[in-house]
Amino acid sequence: MAATQAQVLVPGLIIQDANPAADAEGLERLAIWVLERFSPIVAADPPDGIVIGSTGADHLHGGEQAMLAKLTARLEISGITVRAAVADTWGAAHALARYAIAPITIAPERGAQAAIAPLPIAALRLPVDMVASLRVLGFERIGDLLAQPRAPLALRFGSELGRRIDQALGTTSEPMEPVRPPNLVEVRRVFAEPISAAETISRYIGKLVPQLCEALGARGLGARRLDLVCHRVDNRLQVARIGTATPVRDPKRLTRLLCEKIETIDPGFGIEIMSIAAIVAEPLEARQVATSLIEDSPPDVSDLVDILANRVGERRIYRAAPVASDVPERSVERIPAMAPETGATWPDHWPRPSRLLATPEPVETVALLPDHPPVWFTWRGVRRRVRRADGPERVFGEWWKRGPELAAVRDYFRVEDEAGERYWLYRAGDGEDAATGSQGWFIHGIFG
């Protein structure tokens, strides 16, 4: 379509010249952004894609699905429309990301063939004229091609077709050339003989990390994220990534963190090149921490946080921080374990239960309206007589943030049964006006 024609169809259309060089550069920058945050192996897949080796990195984000959700959410915030797929091979993921109906697809392990079979043949990364001639022959979908004997096709279309099919199915390997950010601090070691024993790997980690720390020290940096990349003799990459909560340049700490990851590395027939790169590094300056004149500061636990974060995942080690909200489940947010201490805490007007149920559970009650606590209630099949009660503590819906909560009210009561067990009940609604809630009773927490 000519530009003038498009301008007639869409008034106010902004026209820019295609700039493939700038596009490629932008893609490269995006790949580095993904590399720093998500996975050690990332490559630009021009003209419009990024390919990510997720093995060895998804556990830090809580699995493939969570990692993909996080990645797409972050990209969408920056105004990029994303289609993503996870599959066993680059070829299959490439096809699913571009031609599957759902914008986010996760193919089951070893299910690449079944997943790509219904896709059109253009998904196979074939030259345009080859796709056209295959169409002429009546091939519409990849499944049609897979069912055909390979030899006649190779005779007619050359080896390219077979190679692309094999790459999509994973029968031939397709090496990725990972993107490397400029000014990357990296140390590597090439072995004369491939190594594979865990002890040997840990010995060489112990030799490489001090070199890396020296290089970081020369630039005044500390590592926040380290990648250990092992090049195997069969041309595959094995990677392990560790993260730290604060910039670190201590060889002992980094060595320990990396050595804990050795069990995730599959050495196969042997590793010939090992490299360690500080993917994310931040300024780290030496400062004096101990003097005998002032009171000793509380011990630093950032190394413990690092060890645990690399074991259970960064998101599952956290601190709780107060949020200015009267709704109990919204009054707590999770912040990184090493976030600066603010000294802020929750208001101490009313006692709070030590266990808060994830979702309030309905209870059967008998209670006087509008503002009396229940006389008895039944929760999980046990009927309890209320001996003492305190309340109501009225919590209003946050209409200034959430429209539907304009009239919502909860009345919280702390009740104690005959055995002394204390529960936190609330009534959804103020007991008079039906607009304020269902007037049903719920249990929300258990006091100690």
């Binding site: 413990l304 707590v332 258990i446 006091f447």
Partner: protein, 256 residues
Amino acid sequence: MQLEPKVRPTPAIDDLRAQIRRIEGSRRRAKAVLPFGVPEVDARLPDGGLARGALHEVAGGGNAAVDGAAAALFAAGVAARTRGKVLWCITRPDLFAPALAQAGLGPDRVIYVEAGDDQAVLACLEEGLRHGGLGTAVGEVGRMSMTASRRLQLAAEGTGTIGIALRRWRRQTEAADFGQPTAAVTRWRVSVMPSEPLPVPGVGRHRWLVELIRCRAGDSADFTLEACDASGRLALPADMADGSHQKAGRRRGASA
């Protein structure tokens, strides 16, 4: 006071205890304890307080074996009175941080680790105890074998951090596991009791029946105590200071 002659140890017993300690090994730091600040409780514990550098077990009694609400606050009270950060390893994220803050354990001090299962909790707890920079490390764990508890105890002995295994089970029936032997130095059961009676309608200060079920180099005992205040301290109820709580506590303990 009526209890005095029973709780004051005799010199001969002290000598024997010192001998046992020598046999046990010298790694244990001498007399590093965290007193509860309640004389009745401290008198029942060797060296007058909860041993630092040791593993302690806490569980809820009755229904609380599943929710562990009171046991968690008891542990929070202990942790609040130690210095430094507190590691809290959990499997179920139902701990409500404002309640810990009301027991004196502010949000800046607690680092939560959500481990997948009991094994992971024990591993994280051990790591926390070995580190040495923490005041207290708490792990909410169901099954804990003798071997696992021994590892935790050794890790704690090496650093002086207080380890608390907050025993919490998925089902009431599994709580019988609490009878199994472990290497913990003390074992506590914290059950809720009716709160302090008030002259007006309302719920008074919470009360617990705190049972010291097992105590290395000490006798078991039970106490009726008032729940943690804003600085994590327990207290003896004023109306029970005459000793009547002993009888009341025992009757309740038998029925639980």
